[in-house]
Symmetry: C5
Subunit: 89 residues, 5 copies
């Protein structure tokens, strides 16, 4: 899994039915120091997450489909947590 920061929302008129009514978020990957890297992915959200938040993303299709409860969803990247901090134990 990776950490990222939500930077925007993808707006698409023409899309697969699965995506109708779903928010697709731009997520910029963070480096270990918590800085944005410019490398992004587009993810759906399993928890409430908004622009500016740091999130935990699972980038794997079967995980994503289980969470949305739709075994035929064309989906790979999913936000599963909002991160408060990275502690040194």
């Amino acid at each position: 899994m990776i950490l990222g920061k939500v930077t925007g929302v993808v707006v698409a008129t023409i899309k697969h039915p699965f995506y109708v009514g779903r928010r697709m978020l731009m997520v910029d990957r963070l480096d270990e120091g918590g800085n944005e890297t410019g490398a992004y992915l587009v993810a759906a959200a399993a928890v409430d997450a908004g622009v500016g938040q740091t999130v935990l993303v699972v980038d794997e299709g079967n995980s994503a489909r289980q969470v949305v409860g739709d075994s035929s969803a064309p989906l790979r990247s999913l936000i599963v947590g909002v991160v408060d901090d990275v502690a040194i134990d």
Copy 2:
């Protein structure tokens, strides 16, 4: 999932039967600013998409097979949306 721009169509005479009659599109990955990166992938399309359009691509085999309704399709990359804009919420 990633964003890309459709830049061309792959023409192949010799191909696996699954690909007969299917359009295979060259998709150049976009960076967060919407600029082409030169890194591409070849994708089938689940929605109508043409050269010059910005698209949302799921790069995962099980997603792709579900959408085309063929559990034996040798397919990994699929266009699932045409993107109008990336908004800052």
Copy 3:
């Protein structure tokens, strides 16, 4: 599979139910010489592993779900060993 060093713990208040009560560890990938690379991933642990230890990580969802015994877990990266040494046979 890859080798990494555990460098911290991810703290998240808002998260998918699967992650409640689970430790999510920051793991910095190591190069062949055993040096940290700065490229990290976030992993759950199937064995007891703490900050500063070198670990073996499987980065694949089906592996991870089998080990945690939850076929619907949104999980991809899992620590499966604590590494003592890399020997030249």
Copy 4:
């Protein structure tokens, strides 16, 4: 999926039974301009393809196993087409 050029044949005496009698081809990934990149993968072929040809490769295990009709094949990369051209529609 990606485009590549076949550059050679992998010769292995000791191998898993699945690979006995199968040609394993070296495929150099091509950039968008059709130039070799030096990044390669080793692929089996679902269509007849030889050294010097440009090919379409699916790099995903389930796709590859479906095509060879062996659900236990330890296989990930498969050539599914010989590419004649990339057209701008």
Copy 5:
């Protein structure tokens, strides 16, 4: 699939039960010219392979689990051949 050279053996006292009694090998990826790249992965072996040998590696979990005959193995990378040569057909 990729080509690599076996460079060492990973020694781990604490590990998931699946790994007890199994050799985990460090494999350095080779470039197209057969030179080590410094990018490695840790793999189990489906054929007998030792330090210094060039090997064919499948980096995909379902392949690996089929070969070891354990559908719950937390495993992704597997050596499936020892390579003698790469021929230009």
